[in-house]
Symmetry: C2
């Protein structure tokens, strides 16, 4: 999916919600466990209940890998049922030496048909570049993450005064353009969004940390939006585990609708919809 | 496997060789492609031919993931046939927010029974700690990698003068001790090994980059060994693709033997074997 198509979807749905399919077999409703592939059945119900309210789905690979090849199979089946006009993100946080990153790119873009994959920047250019250059596919590079450990290295000041995450964002914009490269910018750092937007004015940001992690949607949106919205705000647990009973899918829809309505209001504050 | 057992294996085999099972379906001998699981059959033959010469096997996950759930299955089967006294490393370079890293740890340590997993440090403490504390299991944290992109951020000087990889190694030693935590230190930077050893005197280093990437085994060993050897030197392509014909396994053995003999000589220069 290209940037224009993503923006059109945002306008059409009045939403920049990404739903994290962090499907944990220990947390899904018990009645699903009797089925042959409970993780897939859970995802299927969530997708059917929310697909008109979100513009992206983001399975985190850890949840699938924790079940081994069986989990990987559930993910493959999930990818097959996500409607083609919805943006898909493999939240994998990969990154390795060049020839190895190229294989990860093949796995996520060609085998599984994801639109985007999250990548960790620590190993530098040749670990990121193999993901760039697939037509209408995206790298989403970790910049400033939403977890407490972001303080350990990402905020370190380099000689010259810029922080590590700033160096990452600056340098990476030489590796790919805003049609190829997004950044992960955590919602728990709402006060940083004006600054993040200055560093990368045109780029989309994937924003985790709204909901369970406590980020503030309106503050982030008002500071972080650009002329094509430029935000994909992720919510996982708050939506997909809204209920653990047989009504889990409709409860997920109710939660997603709340977020989408808030997003609609925030979009209407701007001139993006006109 | 604990540190003492790893050292005993090194002494017994006169080897600190780790063989990278970077099994690429496009590079393995053609006659294997007729079998039901070519990747597994290739690994099986390599393991049978080299298990007395190496102390560790390190499958890089990218090669398996590029084949989807089928590749994951080949990896599971491979893990089942690696002898229990050989150290196993999931070269996965994972790292995510705390609850998600915990799932990766479950995947590699409990589902697949690896002894160790490589982890990327960018997301800091809560992304690394969930891997630490499993009994006799190890985190191998990326410090100074062997690829060109290592120069992009790892060598950045921080305010105060230390480079990012030094900050990573210093800080991480507060998260786990040398019985829980190793570091990836690339062999392409042999001149750094004295310094790396000063930063982490007791830790094991996993050293990629010997062989195809050009690192110098003797220089690294002389600068990097500690009282328990403290090095696992990895070679992948140079060994496993020594021949692409039907003799691939014996050719791999010949290459592994060359490296093991050089390691034996280097070990005999020290007093580790007495």
């Amino acid at each position: 999916m290209n940037r224009q198509e993503l923006f059109q979807q945002i306008v059409r749905k009045r939403s920049y919600l990404c739903i994290g399919l962090d499907t944990d077999i220990t947390k899904i409703p018990k009645h699903l466990l009797e089925l042959e592939d409970p993780v897939f059945e859970f995802n299927k119900a969530i997708i059917e209940a929310t697909q008109d309210l979100c513009v992206a789905y983001k399975p985190n690979l850890a949840f699938y890998e924790s079940l081994g090849s069986r989990g990987w199979k559930s993910l493959e089946k999930t990818m097959e049922i996500i409607p083609g006009d919805i943006f898909t993100i493999a939240d994998a946080k990969r990154g390795d030496i060049g020839n190895t990153s190229a294989l990860y790119a093949r796995a996520f873009f060609q085998q599984m048909h994801f639109d985007a994959v999250t990548v960790a920047p620590y190993m530098g250019e040749d670990s990121v570049k193999p993901f760039i250059g697939f037509e209408n596919k995206w790298v989403i590079l970790l910049a400033l993450t939403s977890n407490p450990g972001a303080m350990d290295f990402q905020l370190n000041k380099q000689e010259g005064g810029e922080q590590l995450y700033e160096a990452v964002m600056q340098k990476a914009q030489g590796w790919g353009n805003p049609d190829q490269l997004m950044f992960v910018c955590g919602a728990t750092r709402a006060e940083e969004f004006k600054h993040l937007r200055e560093i990368a004015p045109e780029s989309f940001f994937l924003v985790p940390g709204v909901g369970a992690q406590g980020g503030d949607l309106s503050a982030i949106s008002r500071s972080g939006m650009n002329a094509q919205c430029g935000l994909l705000v992720n919510s996982s647990r708050q939506i997909i585990y809204a209920s653990t009973g047989p009504d889990f899918a409709s409860a997920a829809r109710t939660e997603a609708l709340k977020v989408q309505q808030e997003m609609k209001n925030l979009l209407e504050e701007t001139d993006l919809l006109s």
